[in-house]
Amino acid sequence: MNILGIIASSKLGDAGDFESIATVSVGSGGSSSISFTSIPATYTHLQLRCIGRSSRNQNNGYAVISYNSDTGTNYSYHALTGDGSSALAQGDSSVSYQTLIYFPGALRGSNIFGVGVVDILDYANTNKYKTLRVLDGYDSNGAGYSSLGSGSWRNTNAITSITITEYNSNAFVQYSHFALYGIRSA
């Protein structure tokens, strides 16, 4: 379908098309990170839709994003987060990841998972740094976080791979699920 209200066509797909690129579902052993590689440059934007829970033995776990195997301090992020009682602005500069996504940790109720929708805009453009926006959070009936954020990767290379890592070197547990989509423009 055409989600942008633009009607056009090409050999590869129609403008506004939203197409599934790849999906990773975490199995019973858990996984400390997942990656999408060989991402084609044929889209205008990417959207990552994720569902996750951390094995971390705390209330919260976090997912962070990096690109093209770049683990240098070339990333920064800002977020506005609500914890149910107050709103908190947070951020960091010159870090090795682009953003934090809140997932529940092992101390939260079982079967509760966090979610995130991450838009990575103009990811294949080689003339500017890359910016994302994210909506994420979870609620556990008595606790939780709702967050909206942005992040920057100070690199002009096209993004060809995305790595999502459990921030505290724990694992994403079974049934965590990460799906990458591409969005075309005219």
């Binding site: 569902i51 506005l80 998972f113």
Partner: protein, 161 residues
């Protein structure tokens, strides 16, 4: 690549209604996205969301709000529905925009977490809600307000590879 953002159903109200439901939602997708642009009979009406006609106390939500003056956060626990806004509300003439991301809605292992963004004349909000049920979601009901003629509600399905 196959296209994967598919409209499932659209409701445009031809007359006022106190509820809007999407029923018999198939489990063929990975995520659901519901886009609503309602007006209401009175100014300042808030509305609710429930799933599968379940009105027991299985819902909760964490709210992040900005009302033009301050950013605040709030929580509602153990509710019989999701009150989709904290400060936000719908008006008689100004169409508001709500987007509900209902991810992994058909899985029967986990509870369901819903992202809600709303833009109204009262506030901008980014909220997250929990439905404590491992049942697949097959019905979505919006209620608690009188939605007026011309209000639109569109349900989309997104299918992952």
């Amino acid at each position: 690549m196959p296209k994967t953002y598919t409209p499932i159903a659209t409701t445009t109200l031809g007359s006022n209604s106190t509820s809007v439901s999407f029923t018999s939602i198939s489990g063929n997708y990975t995520d659901l996205v519901l886009v609503a642009s309602p007006t209401t009979l009175a100014n300042g009406e808030q509305f609710t969301m429930t799933f599968n006609s379940d009105t027991s106390s299985n819902y909760s939500a964490t709210y992040l709000t900005g009302n033009g003056t301050t950013a605040t956060s709030h929580r509602r626990n153990t509710q019989s529905n999701i009150i989709v806004d904290y400060y936000g509300a719908v008006d008689t003439t100004v169409k508001t925009v709500y987007i509900f991301n209902i991810q992994n809605y058909s899985n029967t292992t986990t509870n369901k977490t819903i992202l809600i963004t709303s833009r109204t004349g009262y506030a901008a909000e980014s909220n997250v809600a929990l439905y404590r049920s491992t049942s697949a979601i097959t019905t979505i009901t919006l209620a608690g307000a009188t939605f007026t003629t011309g209000s639109t509600f569109t349900l989309y399905g997104i299918k992952a590879a």
